[in-house]
């Protein structure tokens, strides 16, 4: 970071929770006149859905193990505007990869900066717009894909609120045969105290296209409470290749929900990864629908839980067509009184023969107060398949630690090295060095924070 940037404590803090209207309080679809009528009608309908859907209950299977009482969203305010000085500071703090093909920075769902794509990509027909523009200028393709995937893993109500209140976010369309070599980055900042944000990413990767997309979620003040409800929908047309990363580093007082769906077409290949570092309670629901023969989905996650954090991860590998493959690897390291939940399901639908599905969750418990819950599930309705899953919970191997200590390393350093090694196996699977290095640095910054 260059000098002259405002530290979080120097920024103008708006305490949104006390003055602004709450997210669940009132709603006016016509508030946002720049949206076309069809979109406003969609939002109105979503608001009604949100109101009529029940809150999760302790007895809901999709919320098993979760601390239901932490899900109260009523006290958070709607996204608030960010003043110019703070905008500049947040842009300066948005440090991602050295080289990118494009970048957008949002704070409280307001677009702060957009680094446009090269003229070359534009000429090839790549669309890279904030949602408020895409909804008008690319109505047909946007409308065809916008929140069309059913939310099946529990967060229907929260996804409905997202749909009702979403104001901005990113729409990326990569046309047929276009390959974007450098990653595209999106920053979403949650700014102020007691506010909210509804990050949205919609990506359509055309036939045989190739793209890498990174979402960063950050809070400007790591002590400020907030609410984040994000949705990202990824569509891969036949033969498309996608790498998607969602690096979540909200403040430890944030209540966060993230609903992901990845639709994998014939011979397409998706690699997606969730990095969980921040938030008090963070729920991620990730669905991969293997909807075309030869499709493949790699689902990865790394979670570093500390303090009283609870990471609640739900996944579905839905094999709808024959000859599809999926491979899931989730790793959690747990310190202090933190909790993690992994509930995953592999579904092989009738007729989806030659499915090759794998699912593995590994928990590394670093404290006597930490708790890891695992529920890896299988539902198989075809016989010619190869499906395995596994879950392990353990701790640092004493011998491994002893070896490092006898080489003169301090215990805290040795432990950290072991945990890094454990987690970086997942990061390495991305097969993208600059991205892997960036994620490793984010993980390291969380370790540094934990030491304090």
């Amino acid at each position: 970071m260059s000098s002259g940037i405002l530290a979080p404590e120097e920024m103008n803090q708006t305490n949104a929770g006390e003055t602004a209207p709450g997210v669940a309080g009132s709603f006016d679809a016509n508030e946002n006149q720049s949206f076309p009528e069809w979109f406003r009608a969609l939002q109105q309908e979503a608001w009604e859905n949100f109101q009529s859907l029940p809150m999760p209950k302790r007895t809901d299977e999709t919320w098993r193990f979760a601390t239901i009482k932490s899900l109260d969203i009523s006290s958070y305010a709607k996204p608030q505007p960010v003043c110019d000085a703070d905008q500049a500071a947040l842009i300066a703090r948005s440090v991602g990869l050295k080289e990118t093909a494009g970048r957008m920075i949002f704070a409280n769902d307001q677009l702060l900066q957009r680094e446009v794509l090269s003229g070359d990509l534009k000429r090839q027909g790549v669309i890279w717009e904030p949602i408020e523009k895409a909804v008008v200028e690319h109505e047909e393709i946007f409308r065809k894909h916008f929140m069309t995937q059913e939310v099946t893993l529990g967060s229907k109500k929260f996804a409905a609120l997202h749909k009702a209140l979403v104001k901005s976010g990113t729409f990326l369309y990569v046309p047929r045969n276009v390959e974007i070599d450098l990653p595209i980055e999106i920053f979403h900042w949650l700014h102020g105290s007691g506010g909210s944000t509804f990050p949205h990413t919609l990506l359509v990767a055309g036939e045989n296209s190739k793209v890498t997309l990174v979402d960063y979620f950050e809070s400007s003040d790591l002590d400020a409470p907030g609410l984040a409800i994000g949705v990202n929908d990824l569509f891969l047309e036949p033969g498309a290749k996608l790498t998607y990363i969602c690096a979540q580093n909200w403040s430890d007082k944030t209540l966060a929900f993230q609903v992901n769906s990845t639709h994998v077409g014939r011979d397409a290949s998706a690699t997606s990864m969730n990095l969980n570092l921040g938030a008090g309670y963070a729920r991620t629901e990730s669905v991969s629908r293997l909807a075309g023969q030869g499709g493949r989905s790699d689902m990865l996650a790394v979670s570093v839980a500390s303090g009283a954090q609870e990471f609640d991860q739900r996944t579905l590998q839905d094999h709808q067509e024959p000859n599809t493959a999926s491979d899931l690897l989730y790793k959690n390291s747990l310190s202090d009184q933190s909790r993690t939940i992994f509930a995953g399901l592999i579904v092989v639908e009738p007729g989806a023969h030659k499915t090759d599905a794998y699912q593995k969750v590994r928990n590394l418990l670093l404290s006597d107060e930490a708790e890891a819950n695992s529920a890896p599930g299988l539902e198989i309705e075809a016989d010619d398949v190869r499906c395995t899953h596994g879950a392990t919970s353990g701790q640092i191997d004493e011998e491994e630690l002893f070896y490092m200590l006898s080489r003169g390393l301090k215990e805290v350093t040795a432990k950290q090295l072991i945990v890094s090694g454990f987690l970086n196996e997942v990061v390495g699977r991305l097969g993208n060095k600059p991205v892997a290095e960036k994620l490793a640095a984010l993980i390291q910054s969380k370790f540094d924070r934990m030491k304090k």
Partner: protein, 469 residues
């Protein structure tokens, strides 16, 4: 592999016969507090038992069906159409000669008296609601082993059984444990004194003869310090048009250093809802092993559990399930670690054929501040036909460092190459399939007592015979 699996009832023939009913005591159809009073009056039970039953009925009525996670097939049970108590006022006799003819013939056809002579230490045979025969070999009885039904157990030995009755599985544990607590009748109450090692297995045989009937046996086995006992149960019913309900509660208590092995070969006919709660408490250095084999029934829901309460206690569940057409075997295991250095092992193998569905549901719980706990879970599922289904739903909670828990599951089908190879050697496809399936479960079947493993192998052969066209 597309195969015709509609003709799949060969193995049922062994139990598919019934004798005309002539019940002296019949609680009628439906379940109310009057039914409870009727059962208690017939049995001449103590007031506390009557009260226990009435309370349980209220709990049963207040609990919803667990269909938010379980199969909606449960909704097919019409509790108002079931008969909850049927008996001839028979007292369990110690001699087959005194057993009424029809009932004696039933058990003779099932081979029970012969097995008793050959290798059992004691036998109880239950016909609908009550036992008709209960005998324990003299040598075993002389060691102080008690082997009776719940009515006798609670009446004659309250100092032993009352303390644990309904404690391992409380009435409110689930809807069906509440139902059993309200209307239980029959089952085995066993006490093995300290240090006594019962050499031969004790066996209970459960038989449903009447249509629209619910069997609710209740079993409580207490193995006192350092003792050892093996218990086996078998079950059959004729195939009626209407659904029959079997809902048992089985509680095991293994005191310090005791060993209990509990073996079930469930072969109910395919109209039976088999909804059973089974749980054990294992004290310090005790060992409890459930061997649970489910071949029959329409829907079985059964997850034998062990609460590992004392240091170094050990729990094990070996589960084999075979789900044929129209069957759903929803089985699994629960391991609750509640003391340091406790270990548990779950091995489940299931085979789904035709339109059958086999489900593994498991729970492993290691709460905080425990050290040196270990769990190992392995689930393997074999799918025979393209219409077969299998599910795996484990739930694992681990707190703190110093414990190791691992779960693995795999799903596969019979290797076509293997079948081809065997066919080259002159086996028919059916024989090859049978051999392959037997090979899949062989390492588990070997843990059964000899007589049971032979029986099981034969049942699998029979089931498989119809599955290849």
């Amino acid at each position: 592999m597309e195969t015709d699996t509609t003709q799949l009832n060969i193995d049922r023939s062994i139990g598919d016969f019934s004798y005309p009913e002539s019940h002296q005591f019949d609680a009628g159809v439906g379940l109310t507090h009057k039914t409870i009073d009727y059962i208690t009056d017939v049995k001449g039970e103590a007031d506390w038992v009557r009260e226990f039953r009435h309370k349980a009925l209220d709990v049963f009525n207040s609990k919803p069906m667990p269909t938010h996670w379980a199969s909606h097939d449960l909704d097919a049970i019409v509790f108002d159409n079931i008969r909850y108590y049927l008996s001839n006022g028979q007292k369990a006799t110690r001699s087959w000669d005194d057993v009424p003819d029809d009932m004696k013939k039933t058990f003779e056809r099932l081979g029970i008296p012969e097995q008793e002579r050959r290798f059992l230490a004691g036998v109880e045979a239950q016909f609908d609601s009550e036992a008709v025969y209960s005998n324990i070999k003299k040598a075993v009885g002389d060691q102080g082993v008690i082997f009776v039904g719940p009515t006798e157990g609670l009446r004659d030995h309250p100092e032993i059984f009352k303390k644990w009755f309904g404690k391992v599985i409380p009435t409110g544990d689930n809807k069906f444990s509440a139902l059993n607590s309200a209307v239980f009748s029959g089952g085995s109450f066993i006490y093995v004194p300290p240090g006594v090692k019962v050499k031969h297995p004790l066996q209970a045989y459960f038989r449903i003869n009447a249509e629209n009937f619910g069997q609710f046996e209740r079993t409580l086995i207490i193995a006192d310090e350092g003792s050892e006992v093996m218990y086996m149960e078998g079950c059959t019913a004729p195939k009626f048009e209407t659904a029959t309900l079997h809902s048992a509660v089985v509680e095991l208590v293994a005191m310090k250093g005791a060993k209990i092995q509990y073996i079930t070969v469930q072969n109910w006919s395919s109209n039976v809802f088999n909804l059973v709660t089974k749980r054990a408490v294992a004290h310090e250095e005790a060992e409890v092993k459930w061997i649970d084999c489910n071949i029959g029934s329409r829907l079985t829901m059964k997850y034998p559990g062990v609460v590992l309460k004392g240091r170094k206690a050990r729990g094990e569940v070996i589960s084999i399930a075979l789900a044929g057409d129209g069957q759903h075997q929803d089985t699994g295991a629960k391991m609750v670690h509640a003391a340091d250095e406790t270990t548990s092992n779950i091995i489940s193998k299931s085979i789904s054929l035709g339109k059958g569905r086999a489900t593994y549901r498991g729970l492993v719980h290691v709460p905080k501040h425990l050290k040196g706990c270990k769990n190992n879970t392995e689930c393997d599922a074999l799918l025979i036909n393209s219409t077969s289904r299998t599910d795996t739903y484990p739930a694992i909670t681990v707190r703190g460092t110093g414990n190791a828990v691992q779960h693995e599951a795999s799903v596969s089908q019979i290797s076509a190459e293997q079948i081809f190879y065997m066919q080259q050697r002159g086996l028919t496809e059916g024989q090859a399939m049978s051999l392959s399936v037997n090979g899949f479960v062989n390492d588990l079947v070997r843990q059964f007592p000899m007589e049971y493993s032979v029986e099981l192998k034969r049942l699998i052969d029979l089931e498989m015979e119809g599955s290849v066209g």
